[in-house]
Structures are given as C-alpha cells and as structure tokens.
C-alpha cells in the first residue's frame, strides 16, 4: 500500500489559499496527466471543490514529493503553501479519502454533494489514464464505504436549512403533506423559499395575502395560487393547514381570539404557523392553544442547530464504520499483494529441483566439485528461465486491476498455499523497501 495524499481544505487553509489552488474543470484532465507523469508517481488524481483541493496518488516507493508537485504546478512558494497543507500516507491516506467521500470531512457534515464531486474527479482522471490499478480499487472502495455510511447512519438524513426544517416539522404534524394548503402572509424571499419547499413535498393550493395586494398577486402567480386581500385574512386563513407569516407588523397579527376562531371553523384540525417575522406575528397566548403549532425564527434556528449536532453524533458512528472499512481494505490489498505468491512459487520450484537432484544423485555416482557446481548451475538456470515469464507477469499484474485474477490463476496452476505469516513478512519487507530514500 503506497498511497500518498496531500491537500488543503476549509479547516486547514483560508479561502485565499484555496482559491489559488482551485482547478477549473477544463484544466483537470491536464493536471491529472501532469501528476501521473511526475517523478515517483504511478497513478494520481485531483479532487478540486470550493472547500478542498486534494491530490491522491499511488507512488513508486511511498515517498513521492507531492509538495514539490504543488509548488511547481501552481507556481507557489513553499512558505505560501506548506503551512496549510496536510499530508497522509498509506492507511491514513485511505482513511482520509474514505472520510472525504462519506462527507465526514465536509463543512456541513453529511451533505450529499461531495460524493458526486469525488466521482466526477475520479471519472476525469480515469479517462486520461492517470488512474488504473491501485487507485481504481481505492476509489471503488471509497464509493462503497460512502454508500454504506449513508445507508447505515443518519448522517445525511437531517436537513439543515430553515426551509427544510419547516417541511420536516410539517410532516411531524400532518404526516403526508399531500393536499395540505399553504397560506403565505407577507410576501418575502424567505417565505417564498419555505413555500417552494412545501410545494415540492406535495402541498396543495397556495394562498397569498400581503398589505400591497399587487405583490400578493405577483407571488400567487408564481405558485399558481390565489391572492387574498389583507382585510380578508382572518376570514380565509383557516382554509390553510400551514401558514407562513413574515409581515413587518410591529405587533402580533395573529392573536388568541383568531386562533380560537380558526380552530372552531376547522373543527379543531391542527394548524402549523411558521412565523419568520421579527417581531413575531403570532402571539404567545395563541401559540399555547391546543391544535396550534407555532414555530418562530428562533425555534426553527434551534432545530437547525440541533440537526447539525445530531449529525455529529451520527458522524461518530460513521467513523467507526470507516475504521473497520480501512482495516478491510488493507487486508484485501494484502491478499492482492503478489510478493507472497512469487515467494511461494520460488520455494515450490526449489523444492522440486532439490528433490530431483537427490533422486538422480545415486545414478550419477561420485561427482567432482566442478561437476557438482555445473549440475547446480544447470538446474537453477532452467528453473530461473521457466520462472521468468510468470514472475514478470505477476509483477506487472500487481499494478493493474486484474491482479486478483492473475494471482489466483498462478496459485491454482502450481497449487500454492500462501501462508499468512509469509504474506505479512512480504508486507513488512515492502514497507522497509518503501522507506529507503
């Protein structure tokens, strides 16, 4: 595992630095090509979003000069950049990438956009041939992990905008929003947004009342709704199940007596008031009525904050999933490692060679030391010649995605049993080789 990752994100670098590193989509293929051609790098790709720029590579020896690449490519001096960079290797790089894809490293934890962005970056790098065997496997796994995190935890489920919190609350009251009517009192940007969210979730008709009737008509037209004269507000308001109110009135416009009227006319069916006006439009004593659910801007904001907190809690569960996935991925790469197979192939043929020499030794009679050396050289030569092609094939297969198949075929052909200890030894040998400069 010789993965290496370097980058900046919203936590490590200010916007000015991120801006200088950002790569437009049109230049991404070239950057990937440059990266893959950089000394010490076998495969590489770049993820560039507004919150992060990350360079993910599979290197020749685990010690490619990725900082150097960034300095060269972006024409930045080390003192401008290095303090903002983070760098991960091997297992840590895998973990970081899994976290990024699962949206645990995002500014808004659980947002769904990042996975799509990583997928696009991967597709671009793959198209230009900068991603082949190892990174291919790493990213396929990262996408699977992101999917698992999304389905097994609620990290992405809670919504975080005020409009979507309002929708969620409405659903807690009414179940399905199908056919529920919405009344907008006071045409403003925010109430329009909330109404749009509600309509997207199946709400039925929309009514709009505004002090300026023309504005009410304008907004009503946008939603195919009905404009109501402000003086008819109290006579018609009970037709709505959800009222979004945001007038600039200095006092509450909905008072207890109004609430009682509405409920009586509605046979006590509940009403949901989304009060985004400051000062508030719904009076406190009306909000206390059974069947009236009034949420003001602070209540909604509090719900938003708690959603973010909930996501953090879920994120802890997601971290546990990622930790186990990193282990699994590492174990899988170990089995893919061709070195143990090569070692056991060599051992296997050496055993055959020794056995054959012992078998014919009796027939050959007493051999002189020179003859002894000649026989040894001859048999070894044959074995080495025979082994040359399979070993080269195995080594090159290790760099491609079909490694599993080739390793499997060789093991079956020669009936090889790779012991776990052997695999581990090979792994540590690899790591040692990797740390050499």
């Amino acid at each position: 595992m010789r993965f290496q990752l370097i980058g900046v994100n919203h936590k490590s670098a200010p916007l000015e630095v991120r801006e200088r590193l950002a790569i437009p989509d049109s230049r991404l293929p070239d950057t990937c090509r440059d990266l893959a051609a950089y000394p010490g790098i076998e495969e590489g790709m770049v993820i560039s979003t507004c919150n992060r720029v990350e360079v993910v590579t599979h290197t020749v020896n685990g010690h490619a000069d990725l900082r150097g690449f960034l300095h060269d490519h972006f024409h930045l001096k080390p003192e401008e950049l290095d303090a903002h960079l983070y760098e991960f290797r091997e297992k840590d790089a895998v973990r970081h990438l899994f976290r990024v894809a699962s949206s645990l490293d995002s500014m808004v934890v659980g947002e769904a956009q990042i996975l799509g962005q990583v997928k696009e970056a991967y597709a671009t790098a793959r198209a230009v041939g900068a991603v082949r065997g190892q990174l291919d496997q790493l990213f396929s796994r990262a996408f699977a992990v992101a999917k698992r995190v999304r389905s097994e935890t609620a990290v992405g489920s809670s919504s975080v905008s005020i409009a979507s919190v309002a929708v969620e609350l409405a659903k807690k009251i009414f179940g399905s929003l199908q056919g529920k009517n919405v009344f907008i009192v006071g045409a403003g940007k925010m109430s329009e947004l909330a109404a749009r969210h509600l309509m997207a979730h199946g709400c039925g008709s929309i009514f709009v009342a505004n002090r300026t009737y023309e504005r009410a008509i304008g907004l009503a037209q946008k939603f195919d709704g009905q404009a109501i004269k402000f003086e008819d507000l109290y006579a018609t308001c009970d037709r709505a199940d959800i009222v979004i109110t945001s007038t600039g009135a200095p006092h509450a416009i909905f008072r207890r007596e109004h609430g009682e009227q509405f409920l009586a006319r509605r046979k006590n069916r509940p009403m949901f008031f989304i009060d985004i006006a400051v000062p508030r439009d719904v009076s406190q004593d009306m909000a206390k009525l059974d069947g009236i659910f009034a949420y003001d801007i602070d209540d909604l904001q509090q719900a938003v904050t708690s959603h973010v907190a909930d996501r953090r809690k879920e994120a802890e569960r997601a971290e546990a999933i990622i930790a186990s996935e990193v282990e699994r991925f590492e174990a899988r790469l170990q089995t893919l490692d061709v070195v143990p197979t090569i070692v056991s192939l060599q051992d296997h043929l050496e055993t055959i060679r020794q056995a054959e020499i012992d078998r014919v030794r009796g027939r050959l009679g007493q051999l002189s030391p020179e003859q002894e050396i000649a026989v040894e050289a001859l048999t070894r030569g044959i074995i080495n010649k025979v082994m040359h092609t399979p070993i080269t094939t195995l080594k090159s297969a290790a760099k491609e995605s079909e490694a599993t198949t080739v390793v499997d075929v060789v093991r079956r052909l020669f009936n090889l049993q790779v012991k776990e200890t052997q695999a581990k030894e090979a792994q540590s040998k690899n790591a040692e080789a990797g740390t050499r400069p």
Partner: protein, 270 residues
C-alpha cells in the same frame, strides 16, 4: 395444553412489554422489529391456544380467563391491522402492556367462571362476548392512540429539538388511528350491549339497570358515545379527547371488575 401455548405467547408478549418501556425513552428500529416479530409469534401461539381450547370442547365461554385471553388476542389483532395500514409499532407502547397484563392473568391456571348455568340462549351469549370484546379491543387502541397523541402534541409544543427524532408517527396519523378504532369499536360495543340485554331478558325476564355491572357498562357506552359525537361534531382531540378516552377506559375497567360483585353477571371459582 392450551394453557402451555398461552404461556409461550406470554413469553413473546413480554418482549413487547419491554419494548413499550424502552420506546418511551429511545428509538430503535431494530428493537421495534424484534418486538413486532415477537408479537406476531406470540399471536401464533395464542391462536393455537385458543383453537385448541375450542376444539377440546371444554371451552367455557363465560370463563374470565378465556375471556381475557380472547380480549388480548383481539387487541393484538387490531394492533396488527394498524401496523399493516400505517407501518408503525408505536401504538404498541400502550397495547403491549395491556395485552401482556390480560394474557398474564389468563395464563394463571385458576379459572373463575361466570355463573351461566341458567343461561338459556347460548348463541346470544357467544355473540355478546365476541362483540363486546371486539369493542373493548378497539377501545384499548383508541385509548392508546389518544395518549400517544397527547405525547406527540407535547413534544411538538415543547419545541425541544429532540422532538424531531421521535419514534412517534405524525400527529394526524395517530389521530386517524384513534378515530378509526373509535368508529370501528362503537358499533361492536353497542351490539354487544344489546345482545347482553337479550341474554338478560331471556334469562331473568328483565334488565336490572341498577346492577353495578349493567350500570357501569351503560356508563362506559355513554362515554364512548360522547367521544364519538364530540369528535364527529366538533373534532375534539388532544387533551379533551384523551380525558374522555381515559374516562371510558376506566369505566371499562370498572365494568370488568364488576363481574366480581354483580348479582347477575358474576364470576365464581370453577
């Protein structure tokens, strides 16, 4: 043997009872699935128990314990119908403890029996029992729903952020469950009382309205009717509906308890 199956059922319902307590404080999808499966398994055992009792020919229709077992089974059946329609196990918070309690009493082997030796029209008696128990089961459910409605209403009103993640279904869904069980149960309860009167008239020649059993049953029915009426007429729900439902439920419990001291509808040890 029937009693053995019933005890198996009791074991399964116990899981539901634990769920009911846990669900009040935390949400667990896994646990609600486990509780649902345990309850279904319990119903199978329960059904076997009832069938065996019936086939053995020893069925004593007016036995308290057989009655309780039947009522528990009906309540569970109602719960399952609601689960199928609304995909929610939350009424279990009320239904499971009630069912467990009823099954528990029924699974104790002493069998006090209603003094029915001089009932002349067995058919009416059987109809009376089945109808009234279906009515009771629906009442249990609507009582449960009205408590859950209250709980959900409080959570939404408190505006505590955690109220957003709750095991309870939407307020209107709970309301529908309660109202539908109420509407469904009412005719059964009414017919149950009418058939009971027929039994009383054919046996004693008249209905003694001053007998505690009859008095309490009529009271329960009256509250039931008030509930249906206020709901239908002015859409009472929430606190007021919960108050009425509790009253009806207490009246039902009192009417049941009256079996132990009523002159005409009385249980004695067999």
């Amino acid at each position: 043997m029937s009693l053995l199956w019933l005890r198996f059922a009791l074991g399964c319902y116990f899981v539901g009872l634990v769920y009911a307590f846990v669900a009040l404080s935390r949400t667990s999808d896994l646990f609600s699935r486990v509780a649902l499966h345990a309850a279904s398994l319990g119903m199978v055992f329960h059904f076997v128990s009832l069938t065996e009792l019936f086939l053995s020919g020893q069925v004593v229709w007016a036995s308290v314990h057989n009655g309780e077992s039947l009522l528990a089974f009906f309540s569970m059946a109602f719960f399952m119908v609601i689960y199928t329609a609304y995909q929610t196990t939350s009424p279990g918070v009320v239904v499971f403890p009630v069912v467990f309690f009823l099954t528990f009493i029924a699974a104790v082997d002493e069998q006090p029996v209603l003094l029915t030796s001089f009932v002349s029209h067995k058919g009416w008696l059987i109809a009376h029992i089945i109808l009234i128990f279906t009515g009771y089961a629906a009442l249990v459910l609507s009582f449960g729903a009205s408590l859950l409605y209250l709980l959900q209403e409080r959570r939404l009103k408190s505006k505590k952020p955690t109220s957003l993640i709750s095991f309870l279904p939407a307020l209107e869904v709970i309301d529908q469950i309660g109202y539908r069980s109420l509407l469904l149960g009412f005719p059964f309860m009414t017919l149950g009382l009418l058939t009971g009167s027929v039994v009383a008239v054919t046996t004693y020649g008249h209905v003694d309205f001053l007998d505690p059993k009859i008095l309490l049953s009529v009271l329960m029915w009256a509250v039931y009717m008030v509930m249906v009426f206020t709901r239908w007429n002015s859409g009472w729900r929430g606190r007021r509906a919960a108050f009425l439902a509790t009253f009806a439920f207490v009246a039902a419990l009192a009417a049941w308890a009256a079996n132990y001291f009523s002159a005409i509808h009385r249980f004695a040890a067999s």
